[in-house]
């Protein structure tokens, strides 16, 4: 009998194309996702060396980071020049190298990590890479997925492999049921608050337990998306019926006999009884409250019932970091989180820009109005999410409540397009990073779930969504 394996071990073993004596492996890559910001020099590198894309049929490109999310964006003159150049470069490269491409004029365009699963490019047991750290998202399907740099993008384009050493195994188990009003975003913020942003460094995390099993695919993607914020190389959730139901019938999912064969293999993708984990964290599902961040690192997360901490609550280097965060965020220690007033609300990103996220926000916003003076925007994660939300009547709810209803893209998640915070502005955001200046120079970000962000839009303060339900 072979030794029991983790899910990570199984996917890893199925993709090693070559192993050197020192354990360095060439890992075969099943899907390569590409966007406009980190790819131009990689394609240029191919061109200079006279190389081709080895597997164009496994390579998918979509512009998302720079694109405006306002109407009229198909007209390139509505884009700032450097953005326009990057998008045009992706256009050209996609055509020249013959890879799949979803331009802004295509209803399927959106954030790369939303488009991949939506189109059925991401499947269980695959290796998936992209020149973007939030590639971890695809781990929700039981795919080994992580971000890479530009030189690695070129390496994958040319060889369809990546030079890698294996990471260690970590298990994060969320037991039991969640309380009402608690979502996947609250789970993952709580996990990062416990592990810290470096707690996952050197590991691939498998998320498991009843509370994880009970999540939809959208919720699972939210969890895996932020695996990188905990420092992990990748996050994984074993595929199950929820996964198979989501995948079946997607444009690029297998069909007929291939579907049956795939399903057979996918059903073997779980961690064997007795497999070894190098690190384990267990959290009781019932102990998780709606969670928000107060500082400038995703680990600065607290339950909504808490107050802004004091630097003295921390140890070591975190004392100074906390003081700096509190100052940057313009907060006072001891202030209840629910007293913090916001002026901007951003619902979207690859963390929370899917249909279920929009439904959760709409449920809170229905029949209510955004507080006067608050700028609130919803940016769907893809053109298809947008179309579905319109069909379900969600878009009307948002617009009646006073939200701007945008076109798909990364938008204010990283503020590379014109959607930015001004210095000192404070935003309730459903994205994944609250770093200094992330949403615009001097801007202040509080991370939370879509329902919590919707609640904040109504009251103008960080709010416990359970008091509105």
């Amino acid at each position: 009998m072979t030794a029991p394996k983790t899910l990570y071990d199984k996917i890893w073993d199925a993709h090693v194309a070559h192993e050197a004596e020192d354990g360095t492996c060439l890992l075969y890559i099943d899907r390569h996702l590409v966007h406009e910001v980190t790819s131009p020099q990689a394609f240029e590198g191919l061109r200079m060396a006279g190389r081709k894309v080895r597997a164009p049929e496994k390579t998918i490109a979509v512009p998302d980071h720079n694109v405006p999310t306002t109407e009229g964006r198909e007209d390139p003159s509505n884009m700032p020049e450097d953005s326009r150049i990057q998008v045009a470069a992706l256009d050209t490269n996609a055509k020249e190298f013959g890879i799949h491409y979803y331009p802004v004029t295509d209803v399927r365009q959106g954030i790369v990590h939303i488009v991949g699963p939506e189109q059925g490019w991401t499947l269980p047991g695959m290796t998936v890479v992209c020149g973007d750290s939030h590639t971890a998202t695809h781990g929700a399907f039981g795919a080994l997925a992580h971000g890479i740099g530009t030189s690695e993008v070129e390496h994958v384009l040319a060889t369809q492999t990546l030079i890698q050493k294996k990471s260690k195994n970590m298990k994060v188990e969320i037991t039991g049921k969640l309380l009402p009003g608690v979502t996947a975003k609250d789970i993952v913020l709580r996990i990062i608050a416990e592990t810290g942003t470096a707690g996952g460094t050197g590991y691939v995390i498998e998320y498991c337990g009843e509370a994880i099993r009970d999540l939809s695919m959208e919720g699972r993607m939210t969890i895996c998306n932020m695996a990188i914020e905990g420092g992990a190389r990748a996050g994984l959730i074993a595929p199950d019926q929820t996964t198979f139901d989501y995948v079946q019938g997607r444009p690029h999912a297998p069909k007929g006999a291939q579907w049956d064969a795939a399903l057979n293999w996918w059903k073997t993708l779980f961690t064997d009884e007795g497999a070894h984990f190098d690190k384990v964290l267990v959290i009781e599902g019932e102990s998780i409250e709606p969670t928000v961040t107060w500082g400038t690192s995703p680990e600065d997360a607290l339950p909504i019932s808490a107050v802004v901490p004091s630097p003295a609550d921390f140890k070591g280097g975190k004392v100074d970091a906390a003081a700096r965060s509190i100052e940057y965020m313009g907060l006072t220690s001891g202030t209840p989180l629910t007293d913090i007033e916001i002026d901007t609300v951003f619902i979207g990103s690859c963390t929370n820009g899917r249909i279920e996220d929009l439904r959760a926000a709409a449920e809170i916003l229905k029949g209510r109005k955004v507080k006067d003076g608050i700028r609130a925007m919803i940016v769907p994660g893809s053109g298809l999410v947008r179309a579905q939300a319109e069909e379900e009547g969600l878009a009307d709810i948002f617009q009646e409540a006073g939200f701007e209803w945008r076109l798909a893209g990364c938008s204010m998640c990283l503020a590379m397009n014109p959607d930015q915070l001004k210095p000192g502005e404070r935003c309730a955001a459903t994205s994944n990073r609250n770093f200094e200046g992330r949403q615009g120079r001097g801007g202040r970000t509080h991370l939370m779930s879509p329902a919590m962000a919707a609640a904040a839009a109504i009251t103008g303060k960080i709010t416990d969504v359970r008091t509105l339900a």
Binding site: A14, Q41, A49, A89, E154, H155, A158, T161, I163, Q258
Partner: protein, 201 residues
Amino acid sequence: MDKFEKLSGIAAPMPLINIDTDMIIPKQFLKTIKRSGLGVNLFDEMRYDSEGKEIPDFVLNKPAYREAEIIVAGDNFGCGSSREHAPWAIKDFGIKCVIAPSFADIFFNNCFKNGILPIVLPQEQVDVLMKDAEKGANARMEVDLEAQTVTTSDGESFSFEVDPFRKHCLLEGLDDIGLTLEKGASIDAFESKATQERPWV
């Protein structure tokens, strides 16, 4: 990456120390989406005036050195930021080898990744090479990587050190990608096996 073949070329003398990456390629050229095309902006602020006109005194603007393939320079060449745009610009101009008494570490590494040979020689030998370079277009310097020698137009020869693995990569024109492509058979074999086992991928 191109193979580094035996080089016989014109050497441009740049008897300056601390030639930094800002001089090599100023920051306004980093917004590019390309690695190529930076050659026209190599040493931009030393090479052009504020109106964009060539400064005739600058060595690479002189008729004798417009086709230079080697630079002979002073201590600490390539110091400053880590921008890989610096070797990209040098390469794009057509320079394949830089000779100096010392180099900044990151720049030195970046050179090898881009097929450029940086050669470290003692100051006295660099002085001899500098004099040779000053003779202009008729003086061709020879760089033989295989033999690890630099030879002046007068036939005076100096030998230099180079890391064996890096030498191999330069001679064969190998970068990371090149090395992986050497394992192409393993990748092919894996691919056909995987296609049989998981044809839906």
